[in-house]
Symmetry: C2
Amino acid sequence: MSFTAYIYDVISKTIRPVKITIKDGLFSEVAPFTPNEETLVDVKGLILPGFIDSHIHIESSMITPAQFAKIAVRHGTTAVVCDPHEIANVLGVEGIERMIENAEEVPFNFYFTAPSCVPATPFETSGAILDSNDIEDLLKKDEIVALGEMMNFPGVINGDEEVLRKLELAREYGKPIDGHAPLLSRENLNKYLAQGISTDHECSNVAEALEKKLKGMKIMVRDGSSAMDMEGLFNIKESKSTVNHMESLGLLYRDIFVNEICSPLFDFIVSDDKHPNDLIKGHLNLSIKKAVTLGIDILKAIDMVTINPAYHYNLNCGVIREGAKADFIVVDSISDCNVLKTFIGGECVFDGENVLFDVPEIEAQNSINASKKSPDDFDIHFDGDECEVNVIECFDGDLLTKKATAKLRVKDGIVQSDIFQDVLKIAVVQRYGGNTVSNAFIKGFGIKGGAIASSVAHDSHNIVVVGHDSEMMAQAVNQVIEDKGGISVVGEDFSDSLPLPIAGLMSNEDAYDVANKLGILHNMASALGCTLKSPFMTMAFMSLLVIPSLKLSDMGLFDGDSFEFIDVIKN
Amino acid sequence: MSFTAYIYDVISKTIRPVKITIKDGLFSEVAPFTPNEETLVDVKGLILPGFIDSHIHIESSMITPAQFAKIAVRHGTTAVVCDPHEIANVLGVEGIERMIENAEEVPFNFYFTAPSCVPATPFETSGAILDSNDIEDLLKKDEIVALGEMMNFPGVINGDEEVLRKLELAREYGKPIDGHAPLLSRENLNKYLAQGISTDHECSNVAEALEKKLKGMKIMVRDGSSAMDMEGLFNIKESKSTVNHMESLGLLYRDIFVNEICSPLFDFIVSDDKHPNDLIKGHLNLSIKKAVTLGIDILKAIDMVTINPAYHYNLNCGVIREGAKADFIVVDSISDCNVLKTFIGGECVFDGENVLFDVPEIEAQNSINASKKSPDDFDIHFDGDECEVNVIECFDGDLLTKKATAKLRVKDGIVQSDIFQDVLKIAVVQRYGGNTVSNAFIKGFGIKGGAIASSVAHDSHNIVVVGHDSEMMAQAVNQVIEDKGGISVVGEDFSDSLPLPIAGLMSNEDAYDVANKLGILHNMASALGCTLKSPFMTMAFMSLLVIPSLKLSDMGLFDGDSFEFIDVIKN
């Protein structure tokens, strides 16, 4: 295949007309070409390298890699570096292998990282443990391009043997190590970096990014469904006094700050997590447009999702040059950047209307090893008329919770939830054969009747349920068990569920169907009185023990500040 | 030689006891050692790598390289990366070779750069031109470790062929390229950096340094005699609002800003120029102490003058490890860092009292090719009683001048200086055989009678003279010519001079003698009424055409804003 077109050449940072020849899926020729009045270029529009999301957990999209590819190519994405951390917590190496197998069946560039922190903590039951031997087996694979985000920064700093061994292996195999170190600074950051950890996607302000960047990290700006850091990092308002200072020196103005300091400060734009309802609207194509509205030069924004990640992870894509994979997109113009067509390995995979490949399913083997529950599994007993309890106080879409307390009525020896105080019941049901249920109380959901349950519950993905009474909580959990994993809503007059039979995390359905069903479940949760915009995401964080202050694991109520279990009932 | 001692190990960033063995001038063993009550370490004090000044023009010290070494080892300096830009402007490649020959005769590590911009402009007469062929010859030498500071940034940006060729040669020979780009920013900076220019020592504020650093440059902080940028760059007061902003984010406090952001932001501490009167007091030993008073961690300050420059310029010194040159110093303690002894190649060169090597002379060949001048050479003629003239307005120690005007009386057809307006005469006498004199007026010196002259006059080092009347200006210039170069002061009742017979820039005397004589000349200039603290340095900048706004070359009065010659007389 041979054609002439205008390209944005991310290497020379120029837009120029070229003649492109593609052979065996690679660019075999990218030669200068001079159009004139008679010989216009063949391609209408501008060619860019396909976009690369250099940090994403595909499981958060609740669809298989193949389905992810099908929706992503519509938005110009041709490659992802994905950390299969979620499925690894459920199914271990076997789960990762199933992801890779499914990914290989579609024309899309999936690169994987070896999840470094499975399980996340010893205070919960996960489906698998990835030790350093497993990590070594993974790092040997060509599909694995890096060691996944090292969230266990205390382990790195304190020299945990297994943690250090995993890091050593990554260095031995010559693969980069992704970081995850929110607010880490000074000597502790230095120790973390001394292990060769090279990226961070947790920066929430410019000062934090600056210290990390100057100490050698590459900074990922998140623009995802869970975490949207881009506004805070690029937005001049956030950094007003910095800019004032710079302007007082007669040097810097808004555009200089944003383009000349922010652009080189940040290396990549990533999504981290992209929920199905967001993914159907767009992906990195929308992120670069947002960056432009915040003042970043469009060309620099494109670099952050093409050449920068390609060079860092040593991927043979993300650039238009001879020998690289012929992954590219056609956009209408550099100013609008609307994706008209997507090519992977020289083949058109999206023609502007349809995605031109078929999507294989992952065979769903039941990963939920839990017996049906009865209402009394969700009862908390107390001998007396009233008792004081510790309560998890949560906030919409927030990983952080607060420790609250409440006085609750006891009826027939069972502590009662209280909709007037908005204190509901929450439980985590072990799904890995242990058949235990851990119960507690939560504030913030606003549910007046009914229950919601989900097998998406970070990081071990036991079944989490929030509800007003034990009866409906049991129903909601049993629906998830019956569906072999998924999300359910149970009310007095209605109930529905989104089955996620692949590891309890993903569906074989396409993004539109999953987003549609999820939308229905959201509406039903609202009908239960739930006041949260993201009830399922918020609920999924309630078992994420590493983020303070109070969380619930299948083993009990966990104080994330003191890192120990505490009792539900105070007296 | 073998001994035990505590060292600051700049590689592991730790202070630790070791056993050191030295063989053939190199560290042959640096082994862990555990002192106990019976076996204390042999060396009293702490061992550091010798200090490296990674950007200095030795000619500014007015002494030969060998004499420079003799004074520098007293301050713990064991290596310099020096740019022989000044002598190159006078004597070309031959001058550089004489510097190298002299340098090789003392036990000190001199590394040279190939001066990239000789002459500085086509608007003046220099003693030599270094074209790309000369640069290639220089880059082939082992003693030349880099291409010297590329001051001609307009040439780089506009693609001047010879400039690009020199840069290309440096890349070909695998030698780093030093930059010099005050306030260069945005697209122009990007173009400059695209040529592989990797250092900058011209940053005058944090914002400027930040942009350059984030775009890949290594930043040199100057703490020299002409330029003292360190206070502005490290001092928290300068950056108060930046810090306020950071603190408002709950993240950063003074020590974090200085140590965690400033330290990695700045790579090297350099002097650039070190005048004899400053050099006898100290060198990098004082600079690191000053850095500490500004809040920088002492260990990080040491890194900036040891391992950082050594690694950048690929020098086999600056670290204490097996195989590196055994250049090290003994200091009393890490907190005080007073230099007790200095070793180069394993040999003691300074024992705390005396410098233990002899200093060879450079044979002074007369480089001043100018005939004696008569007073009327300094007359400016005008037909009338009064005339309006353009006047250079200068400021103490400042490279920048302003354009001023003055009305002056004319007597016998000769325009008269006016001490009441402080408008004196200035002249540049061509010293390369052309025998021309270029005359103008200057404001700011305050001299009430007499003249001062010097063959140190950047960048071409013609003879510059400032005075009240033509008679004494001729005397002062003739003294410089008679001395084969140097600095002279002529008053009604006294006159004296400091001969600088090597290229008109350097003396074979030692630093103390030169500093002493320079002190006498300073006092004499004050006695003439001169109000400047640094009259000779200020005068030396009056011919530096590249810095605006009004300067004087041997070819005439030069407008540095419009880059063209203008007339002295306005009407």
